[in-house]
Amino acid sequence: MITFDHLSKEYNGVYAVNDLNFEIPGGEIFGLLGPNGAGKSTAILMLTGLIEPTAGRCLIDGVEVAKNPIEVKHRIGYMPEDVGFYTNLSASENLDFFARLYGLDTSTRKSRIDELLSMMNLDGVEKLVGGYSKGMRQRLGIAKALLNDPAVIILDEPTANLDPQGVADYRRIIKKMAADGKTVLVSSHILSEVSLVCTSIGVLSQGKLVAEGTWKELTRVLQGEQVKILVETRGSMPEFNHPDLISAEYSNENHEAVITARSDIRDDIADTLREQNVMIRQLTLDRSTLEQAILLYYNTGDK
C-alpha cells in the first residue's frame, strides 16, 4: 500500500507537489497522469527516497520513506523514465551489481537474474549495455525493478520506448504482479496505455491531485457530454436500449460497435451482453473520450 500524507515539495518558492493526500491500496495498478511539470516525477522521487519532502510524508506499507529509507527501498522496485545502466557492463552484470545491493545471496541472484532476463527476452544477449537500443534498456529497466521481488513497483513512463511485443509483455507482467498482490504505480502520459492497464487513476495538475478514482468515476465529469464506447464481441451483439444512448454504429456483422452516449454506460452494456451470452472481447472508452475527461481535469487544475 502507498500513502501520500499531505505531501509537498517546494523549489525556490514554487510548489512542484502541493499537499498530495491519497492512498493506493495493495494489489492495485494505479496510473498517475498529468501534463509535463505536473509534479508526477517529483512525487515519485519522494516516494523512492531520492529527495526529501518539504512538508508531509509518504509511506510504503505503513513505513515512512524519509525516516526509514533503507527499509522502504528494500520493499520497492523502481524504474525511472530515463533509465540508466552501467554501459561498460552486460545486462546480467548490471543486475548482479544491483542484486548485491539488495543483499541477495549468490544462488538467489543467479536464479532471479536468469528468470528476469528470460521474462524480458534479454537472455542470451551477451553484449554490453552500451550497445543496447532504448527499448532493450527499458526492458532491462523493468527486469531491474522486479529484481528484489518488491511489494511495490514504481514505473515512470514504462512503455515509452518499447516495441509492440515489449508493450504486450509489459502488460502481461504488470497484471500478473497485481494479481500476486503487489501494488503497481505507473506514471505515464500515454493515456491509452494507462487506460488499458490501470485499475484506478490519479490526475495531477500543477502539483495538485485534481482527480482520483476508477475510469468510471473519472468519466462522470463528462456527464452531459458525448461518451464514445468501443465494443467488440465474439458473437453477434444485440441492439442496445438505454436512456443515455445517443447512437450506435454496428459493423463486422454486428461483432463491433461504436456507442455514443451521454454517460459511461459500459456496465449496462456488459450486463446486456452477459444476459445474451455474448462473449466480450473489448469494452473500452474511446481514446478521444478519455482525453476529453482528462483535459477537463487538467483545466480544473489550471483554475
Binding site: T48, I51, V83, G84, Y86, T87
Partner: protein, 366 residues
C-alpha cells in the same frame, strides 16, 4: 536495517578501474617506463660502484696518501631519483584519469538515480567510489614498487635498512601525491555536469598548482617581498680582505712580515648580513609554503630530500648568508625535514575527498 552498499560499490569501482582501457593504458605506460628507468638506473649504479671500488683500491695503494676519496660511494637512492620525475608526472595523470568521470559519468548515463533508489545511503556511493579508487591506486603502486625491488635484486643490489625505509617513504608519498590528484578530479566530477568539463576544471587546477611555485619563486616573489637588500659599497676598502662575514685587516711590519689583526666587527656589514638573512628566510618560507600546496612540487622536494644524500645540508648552505657563526651547517634528520611535506600530502587528498563528499551529499538528484 543495514546496508551493504560501501563494500559492493567499492568492489565494483575497483573492478571497473582494472577493466578500464584508460586506466590500463596509463598504468601500462607508467609501468613500462618505470621498469626501463630502473633497469638503466641499476646498470648506471653498478658502473659507478665499480668505478668507486677501483678508486678505493687505488687509494689504498697510495703510499703518499694523496687520497681519492673525494667522490662518495654511489647511493641506491639515485636509481629511484632517476624515475621519481616520471612517477610524479605520470602518477598525476593516472590520478586525474581515474577520478574525473566517476560521478559525472553517472550523471550523464542517468545511472546515479537508479543506483540511489537501492537500499544504500548516499554517502556509501561517494565513499565506495573513493575507496575503490584508493585500492586501485594502492594495488597499481604496490605492483610498481614490487617490480622496482625485483629489478634491484636481480641487478645484485640489496638496499640496506635505512635505504629501504627511504624507498618505502618515497613510495608512500608518491601514493599520496597520486591520491591527491584523484581526490581533486573526484571533487571536480561532483561539481561539473559532464565529464568533459570535469576534466578541463581538473587540468586547469593541475597546471595552476604545478606552475604556481615556479611563478612565485620568480617575478611574483619580488613583488611580494620586494628586492633583496643592496650590497654595501663601503665594504671594498683598499687594505681589507673580505673573508667570510668578518673583515680582517693586515699591515706589513718594518721587517717585511705581514701581520694579521683580530677581526673587527663592521656594523654596516652586520646590518647587511641581518637584512639578507631575513630576506632569504622570508623567501625560503614563502617558497616552502607554496610548494606544500602543490602535490607534485611537494613530492619533488620530498624526493630530493629523501633520495639525494645531504640535500638538506646543501640547500641550507645555499640559503645561508656567507660567513659568521651560521656558516657551520648542522647535520639534518631527513625524516624531520620531510615531516611537513608528508603532512601536506595527507592534507591535500583529505581536503578534496571531504569537499567531494559534501558536494555529493548536497547534489540535486532529479
Amino acid at each position: 536495517m543495514k546496508s551493504n552498499g560501501l563494500p559492493v560499490i567499492a568492489r565494483k569501482e575497483l573492478r571497473d578501474h582494472f577493466r578500464s582501457r584508460k586506466f590500463l593504458l596509463i598504468f601500462g605506460i607508467f609501468l613500462i617506463i618505470t621498469t626501463i628507468g630502473m633497469i638503466s638506473g641499476a646498470a648506471e649504479y653498478n658502473k659507478e660502484l665499480q668505478q668507486y671500488n677501483e678508486r678505493q683500491s687505488v687509494a689504498d695503494d697510495d703510499e703518499f696518501g694523496m687520497g681519492f676519496g673525494g667522490w662518495g660511494k654511489p647511493s641506491i637512492m639515485s636509481i629511484y631519483l632517476q624515475v621519481s620525475l616520471l612517477i610524479i608526472t605520470l602518477g598525476a595523470v593516472l590520478g586525474i584519469a581515474m577520478g574525473f568521470d566517476l560521478i559525472s559519468k553517472e550523471k550523464e548515463t542517468k545511472s546515479l538515480k537508479i543506483l540511489l533508489s537501492h537500499p544504500i545511503y548516499r554517502d556509501e556511493v561517494i565513499n565506495g567510489k573513493a575507496l575503490g579508487g584508493l585500492l586501485a591506486l594502492a594495488i597499481a603502486l604496490g605492483i610498481t614498487f614490487i617490480i622496482t625491488f625485483a629489478i634491484l635484486l636481480l641487478s645484485g643490489i640489496v638496499p640496506e635498512g635505512d635505504e629501504l625505509l627511504k624507498i618505502l617513504v618515497f613510495g608512500g608519498a608518491a601514493f599520496l601525491m597520486i591520491l591527491s590528484y584523484f581526490a581533486l578530479s573526484l571533487f571536480m566530477s561532483t561539481v561539473a555536469n559532464d565529464s568533459g568539463k570535469a576534466l578541463v576544471y581538473t587540468l586547469v587546477i593541475f597546471v595552476a598548482l604545478t606552475s604556481l611555485p615556479i611563478l612565485v619563486n620568480g617575478p611574483v616573489m619580488s613583488i611580494v617581498i620586494g628586492d633583496p637588500p643592496e650590497y654595501p659599497e663601503q665594504m671594498f676598502s683598499s687594505d681589507s680582505v673580505h673573508r667570510g662575514m668578518s673583515v680582517v685587516s693586515s699591515s706589513v711590519s718594518s721587517d717585511g712580515k705581514v701581520e694579521y689583526k683580530e677581526p673587527e666587527p663592521d656594523p654596516v656589514w652586520e646590518e647587511y648580513n641581518r637584512q639578507i638573512k631575513e630576506y632569504l628566510n622570508k623567501r625560503q618560507s614563502i617558497s616552502d609554503t607554496i610548494t606544500l600546496i602543490s602535490p607534485t612540487m611537494n613530492l619533488q622536494t620530498l624526493s630530493y630530500i629523501l633520495l639525494i644524500p645531504d640535500y638538506s645540508r646543501m640547500m641550507s648552505m645555499v640559503f645561508s648568508p656567507v660567513g659568521g657563526d651560521d656558516f657551520e651547517v648542522q647535520e639534518t634528520d631527513v625524516f624531520k625535514d620531510i615531516f611537513k611535506n608528508i603532512i601536506a600530502l595527507f592534507a591535500f587528498p583529505a581536503a578534496f575527498l571531504g569537499l567531494a563528499y559534501v558536494r555529493f551529499m548536497r547534489m540535486d538528484i532529479r
